[in-house]
């Protein structure tokens, strides 16, 4: 049995459409200082390892930003590395950090993630830059965008299972409502299913309010062995310990068409979940997981995710979402933070923000209006592209 790390401390910036006064280094600095305060540490002298999490050299107009970030917070000459895995970057960074601790390579590692996807470039340029992470010769050059690829997937899901636009509109409404209870959220909204259905078409059947946000923001987690956290973080014992107890990762073909006939759901996510559940000893995920942050890059993606993660049978995600099974008062509250739709999605920080929400839920330290009572085990689901890479991380409170 490997020794799983604990979440020693967490920190983040507010998530915003534009932090105009801050570049990526500034945002990352803010999140790291917030994490230090959470740990009760004055400096990073005891921390053994750094790990930078960001997706885009293009958005930042800077290569080797990881080295600059490590330098900025004075972690030199300690070891550091940068992890990139598209939309899954933050979760993959945490998985990598997890492996560093479990393997004994280090006892403490600071994972700092940042992205400026907000208004540094126009949304048209942003779409083009994101489309560069599709297959350039076959998908990007024809004018394909990720909104279009996801739209083609959910249309296949609708054709196979009868999933409806009203059902995925419910996700857009609920996650933006949950964001209203999260002080760092970018865009809380009190909207109705009809508002979503009436919003501007972007890539049919997805409309403006079905789409997640472009964001600026940063997030940071200090992972460590329990012994290290107890010895070095004065505030660690003030909260019940939350362990990062399992991690799964899967992959799939880059192009949707190469997955035919499996184009309704995410096989990489199913594979990641199987691994994570096996590692955590989970047999019935819906009953054994209390809170989850799912990758709602588009509203319908959450419906596909609840099926792939085993929270609903294949094809049953739409009806389950629509009856409120995953609302704050449902069987398994998901995206209590507001998700990518409401809290926001600064890519390199997104997976870290998801883990922070789960940890704070397990610590019972979030706003009472979104607190899941007695939550003991939580999950994050994060993927890249249309789940060409998928990561499922599991966190458990043990006290």
């Amino acid at each position: 049995m490997p020794k799983h790390p604990v979440i020693a401390a967490v920190g983040s910036t507010a998530i915003s459409s534009e932090h105009r006064g801050s570049n990526a280094r500034d945002l990352m600095t803010e999140a790291v200082l917030d994490c230090l305060a959470d740990a009760g540490l004055d400096d990073l002298s005891a921390v053994e390892h750094g790990l930078a999490s960001y997706e885009s050299d293009h958005f930042n107009l800077q290569m080797t930003l990881g080295a600059i970030l490590q330098d900025t917070i004075g972690l030199t000459p300690k070891p550091g590395l940068r992890i990139e895995g598209g939309g899954a970057t933050g979760a993959l960074a945490l998985r990598t950090a997890w492996a560093h601790v479990v393997s004994g390579l280090c006892d403490s590692i600071l994972v700092y993630g940042v992205e400026k996807n907000g208004r540094g470039v126009s949304s048209r340029t942003a779409n083009q830059l994101f489309a560069l992470s599709a297959d350039v010769d076959w998908e990007m050059m024809i004018g394909g965008t990720y909104t279009g690829f996801y739209a083609a997937m959910i249309r296949a899901h609708m054709a196979a299972f009868g999933t409806t636009e009203e059902q995925f509109a419910h996700v857009a409404v609920r996650n933006r409502r949950n964001a209203g209870f999260n002080p760092i959220a970018q865009k809380p909204m009190d909207i109705s299913v009809d508002d979503v259905l009436a919003s501007l078409p972007i890539a049919e059947p997805y409309k403006l309010l079905d789409c997640s946000l472009l964001s600026d923001g940063a997030a940071c987690i200090l992972l460590a062995t329990e012994d290290w956290a107890s010895a070095h973080c004065p505030r660690f014992r003030q909260r019940p310990p939350v362990y990062f107890s399992a991690s799964g990762c899967g992959s799939d073909t880059m192009r949707l068409g190469d997955r035919y006939p499996h184009i309704t759901n995410f096989r990489a996510k199913q594979a990641a979940a199987r691994q994570a559940y096996q590692m955590a000893g989970i047999k019935e995920p819906l009953a054994e997981i209390d809170v989850a942050e799912l990758y709602d890059s588009y509203s319908g993606v959450e419906i596909q995710a609840v099926e792939d993660l085993g929270f609903a049978a294949a094809g049953a995600g739409g009806p389950a979402v629509a009856v409120g099974a995953f609302d704050l008062d449902g069987d398994l509250p998901v995206n209590t933070s507001g998700g990518l739709l409401g809290r926001g999605a600064p890519v390199g920080a997104t997976g870290i923000l998801q883990a922070i929400e789960v940890a704070q839920q397990l610590w019972e330290s979030v706003d009472a209006r979104r607190q899941v009572e007695g939550a003991r085990r939580g999950l994050t689901d994060t993927h890249a592209g249309i789940a060409s890479i998928s990561v499922v991380n599991i966190f458990e409170r043990r006290d």
Binding site: N127, G144, R255
Partner: protein, 173 residues
């Protein structure tokens, strides 16, 4: 506006408390416009014959001799068998499997012609292929449905990326 920094967008003071903001010394922010453009000697590699044959109005796929799977778009290597594949010609006819009408185009693509919105992205199961081929279907969005029969049309106009030497249209019945 600065008369010395031609790229300057603006200078602004970010909100914050004059006493308690730890960054009170750093609230003055200048923004400038930066541009970066590159051109690449970009090899189409082992895909090349597909693109070259589009100029000859022929639609090629690849077939794995070991497992028989036909890949369109072509794969030079069968990922299941790890064997080099062989070129095979398809009719260029097939059926729409799924699609989306896009109302928002990326800033540009390699084709000089701007994409007029809405445009239709289709995934086509070509006759004789085992995978779906993504491309544009030139037809009004309300006429697209799953199973719609389509065929490849070869373009005579000059293009920047050879993938634009083709597109799909419905087969009129």
């Amino acid at each position: 506006m600065s008369d010395k920094v031609s790229s300057q967008i603006d200078v602004a003071t970010i909100d914050g408390d004059a006493v308690t903001d730890p960054w009170r010394e750093f609230r003055l922010v200048e923004r400038i416009t930066l541009e970066l453009s590159q051109s690449y000697k970009y090899s189409l590699g082992k895909y090349s014959r597909f693109f070259i044959e589009l100029e000859n109005r022929r639609f090629l796929a690849t077939r794995c001799e070991a497992c028989g799977k036909v890949y369109a778009p072509p794969r030079p290597l069968c990922p299941a068998c790890l064997q080099p594949t062989a070129w095979t010609e398809l009719s260029g006819e097939g059926a729409v499997e799924t699609w989306s009408a896009l109302h928002f185009s990326p800033a540009s693509n390699a084709d000089a012609r701007a994409l007029e919105t809405p445009y239709v992205l289709v995934y086509v199961l070509l006759d004789g292929a085992d995978t779906l081929f993504p491309h544009l279907l030139k037809t009004p969005p309300d006429q697209v449905r799953r199973g719609l029969r389509v065929r490849v049309v070869y373009s005579d106009e000059p293009v920047r990326h050879p993938i634009h030497l083709m597109y799909f249209v419905p087969i009129s019945t």
